[in-house]
């Protein structure tokens, strides 16, 4: 996947972001909501987008960068088509979610925080998803899979390949 930012292709998205900045720039503490919006629109926060935010809000780029890197929800690199989150919340952990995570890592051959070479899957370890009753739990985009065993992982991932 090319990491170069395509201004032409992203024209509409940039416009959307600029509108949002315009609407919110007089709000106190606008940087976080704007970063959330940008993350939603682009799926990540490349330097070019950080620049737009910096200028739009009159906040130094170093500060935008500092905030964007502090929070784990903001990503500086693009994510895969499907984001897999294996819950490592306490309730899931004591019921063996580490083994689920190990299995996903083994099958996709990536570590937590990485994306597969074909851009298909990104892998994250999440905290409690509020579905402890189904522990151990994994989510793929918005779909939740519960009461997992390591053996079930392969079949689930197959559906997305």
């Amino acid at each position: 996947m090319g990491l170069k930012f395509d201004w032409e292709k992203n024209k509409e998205k940039i416009h959307e972001l600029e509108l949002f900045i315009e609407e919110n720039k007089n709000k106190k503490g606008a940087l976080m909501p704007v970063l959330h919006k940008a993350q939603d629109i682009f799926g990540y926060l490349p330097l070019e987008v950080q620049n737009i935010i910096s200028e739009g809000l009159s906040v130094p780029l170093s500060e935008v960068y500092g905030v964007a890197t502090f929070y784990s929800k903001f990503s500086l690199i693009p994510k895969g088509e499907y984001t897999i989150g294996v819950c490592l919340g306490t309730a899931c952990y004591v019921k063996g979610s580490q083994e689920i995570l190990d299995k996903v890592q083994e099958i996709l051959n990536i570590q937590v925080g990485e994306t597969t070479a074909d851009g298909k899957f990104s892998l994250q370890a999440t905290r409690c998803l509020g579905a402890c009753g189904l522990a151990p739990v994994m989510v793929i985009n918005d779909e939740v899979y519960g009461r997992l065993t390591p053996d079930a992982v392969e079949g689930i991932l197959e559906k997305y390949k």
């Binding site: 106190k28 503490g29 606008a30 940087l31 976080m32 909501p33 970063l35 959330h36 906040v59 500060e63 500092g66 905030v67 502090f70 929070y71 784990s72 929800k73 903001f74 490592l88 919340g89 306490t90 309730a91 899931c92 952990y93 004591v94 019921k95 999440t126 905290r127 409690c128 998803l129 509020g130 579905a131 402890c132 009753g133 189904l134 522990a135 739990v137 939740v144 519960g146």
Partner: protein, 597 residues
């Protein structure tokens, strides 16, 4: 208004939602229409019922018939049999709702009978997306009373008299905090709700926000009036999309009804609330870091004092309370201080909500009067440990808390008693562990979390927790050396004494408490290279017991690394050099002949 003969409540909490309860609700409505019952039966989607383990859950009123594990394909039968013909669908009843052929209503099931629902009073009962339902359950009456009949000081006095203490973990008296904020001087003041819910294994606040968002809005507005603020913020985790959506709907509805905004209920009092989303940093649950984050900065804690009550958001006096703390406020106004104080203990009145999880039969949300014993929660409400296993410990307080062993199961739960045991009340995570869980590994798990989440501002926390994690990893992988345990203790003391914020100060707790109660497990790892629970893979060996092996060959056929040899009908053996400790053979052996040692 239409009077319905029956109400069907479908749980729309996160747990049930993830097993498609939204589709169950739609299908239920369709089928009801098909059968011409739409003017007689109403379907409502509510917040979490609390018994997430058995979801998706559905309750039919007026009888209170409790169906669990409902599937889409069961919907037609419920409508056709129960709603149309009045015959309960027995095969779908919650397992404990039938006793000797008598069907118990939902309130008589042990799980609920032993609870006292104050903060969760409306969860699983009302439609959180409809303000009318909240109002029908006496919602916004407390606000009306405060604004029209009470002075600001009277409001604060009432909260003080109730004895309510902060449910975010530390248990600080809520009325006192309101008083400090009121007395602080400032031209502008803020009211903040901490909905960052950082404990990685807990979801109490989320369920309140999803199931009863107006109770939090109402309480914040009352607080705004009391302390003299016209602006509130709810700082909520971005990972809670359903809660965010329902809160936004609730805020919009409250504005429409004149319960938020300008001149609320014609009292001349103005107050509005805005949502701010967190972005995945645990430390932002700490109040000063949370304030930094709302201001649009990196969420690094500030030095205290000054406390937020004097200098908080944008340097202005700021009241900050937890979701569950707020959820208690309206009902204290409605039912009075005496009623509230009649629940719980002298020093900790009221109830506490816990997210009960781990190795327990009934996983879910439970609300109990303070002073209930751990045993009552785990065995009485939680239904005990599954699969006949032995209880080992219960963890409270998440990464800031500790593990409590069997000897203390009869401890009544309140702020002081849990602290005395080396744990804390915390925000309400309660994870049960059985004989298969390794306590050294659990300590490692929490340290791994803290290292990940330390903001890096102070060295003791940033470097110290990392050093502790390294030692714990060494121990659990079988490379522990004499002196390691003592080093852990020394580091723990250091970090406790010199970290700036609560995250660092409490980070060693999981290690300290497991060392206190399970030191023998640490010693077995370090000195005998043995994990007593058999969890730490690198420390166990798989052995076939000659006396039990029938020589069926199943293990041999399934071993992925050809580590097992033996002739048919003769005892088999595992070659420890080849064994990769995958555990397959144990699962496959029909005679229980394989052991972890």
């Amino acid at each position: 208004m239409n009077l319905y003969r029956a109400h069907v409540l479908v749980c729309g909490g996160t747990g049930c939602h993830s097993s498609n309860s939204d589709k169950i609700k739609e299908k239920m409505e369709d089928r009801i229409k098909e059968k011409g019952l739409e003017n007689e039966v109403k379907v409502v989607m509510t917040g979490c019922f609390g018994l997430c383990e058995s979801g998706p859950n559905v309750v039919v009123y007026p009888e209170g018939v409790f169906y669990s594990h409902v599937k889409l394909s069961d919907v037609d039968e419920i409508v056709d049999e129960h709603l149309l013909k009045g015959r309960v669908v027995k095969r779908l009843l919650f397992k404990e709702a039938v006793e000797e052929n008598i069907i118990k209503s939902v309130n008589e099931v042990d799980f609920y009978k032993k609870q006292t629902r104050v903060a969760l009073r409306n969860c699983g009962i009302i439609d959180p997306e409809n303000i009318e339902e909240y109002i029908a359950y006496d919602g916004y009456q407390a606000l009306a009373r405060a604004l029209t009949e009470m002075t600001r000081d009277e409001v604060i006095q009432l909260v003080k008299d109730s004895g309510l203490r902060g449910r975010g973990g530390a248990g600080f008296p809520t009325g006192l905090k309101w008083d400090f904020t009121k007395k602080a001087s400032g031209d502008k003041k803020y009211v903040v709700c901490n909905a960052d819910e950082g404990d990685p294994g807990a979801f109490m606040d989320r369920s309140i926000l999803e199931g009863d968002p107006h109770s939090v809005l109402e309480a914040m507005t009352i607080a705004g009036y009391a302390v003299g603020s016209d602006q509130g913020y709810i700082y909520i985790r971005a990972e809670y999309p359903i809660a965010v959506k329902r809160l936004q709907i609730a805020i919009n509805q409250a504005r429409e009804y004149g319960l938020l905004g300008e001149n609320i209920l014609n009292s001349g009092f103005n107050f509005d609330i805005e949502l701010r989303l967190g972005a995945g940093a645990f430390v932002c649950g700490e109040e000063t870091a949370l304030i930094e984050s709302i201001e649009g900065k990196r969420g690094m804690p500030r030095n205290k004092p000054p406390f937020p009550a004097n200098e908080g958001l944008w340097g202005k006096p700021t009241l900050i309370n937890n979701v569950e703390t707020y959820a208690n406020i309206p009902v204290i106004f409605q039912r009075g201080v005496d009623w509230f104080r009649s629940i719980g203990t002298e020093k900790s009145p009221g109830t506490k909500v816990f997210a009960l999880g781990g190795k327990i039969e009934n996983t879910g949300l439970v609300e109990i009067p303070m002073g209930t014993t751990l045993r009552d929660i785990i065995y009485g409400i939680g239904g005990g440990i599954p699969k006949g296993k032995d209880f080992k410990a219960v963890q409270t307080g998440g990464p800031s808390g500790g593990c409590i062993p069997k000897e203390y199961l009869d401890t009544p739960v309140d702020y002081e008693s849990l602290t005395k045991l080396g744990s804390i009340m915390g925000s309400g995570g309660m994870i049960v562990m059985d004989e298969d869980n390794c306590m050294v590994d659990i300590a490692r798990f929490f340290l791994d979390f803290t290292v990940d989440e330390s903001c890096g501002k102070c060295t003791a926390c940033r470097i110290g927790t990392r050093r502790m994690l390294e030692i714990l990893e060494k121990i659990t992988s079988g490379k522990g050396e004499p002196g390691d345990i003592e080093k852990l203790e020394e580091l723990a003391n250091n970090i406790k004494d010199s970290a700036l914020c609560g995250l660092g100060q409490t980070a060693p707790n999981p290690v300290v408490s497991t060392l206190k109660y399970f030191r023998d497990e640490y010693e077995a790892h370090v000195y005998e290279k043995r994990c007593p629970s058999g969890h730490c893979r690198r420390l166990v060996t798989f052995v076939i017991r000659e006396d039990l092996c029938k020589g069926c060959g199943l293990c041999k056929r399934n071993c992925p690394n050809d580590a097992i040899t033996g002739e048919v009908r003769e005892a088999h053996v595992i070659d420890p050099e080849k064994c990769i400790k995958c555990g397959t053979c144990i699962e496959k052996c029909p005679f229980g002949a394989i052991e972890k040692r």
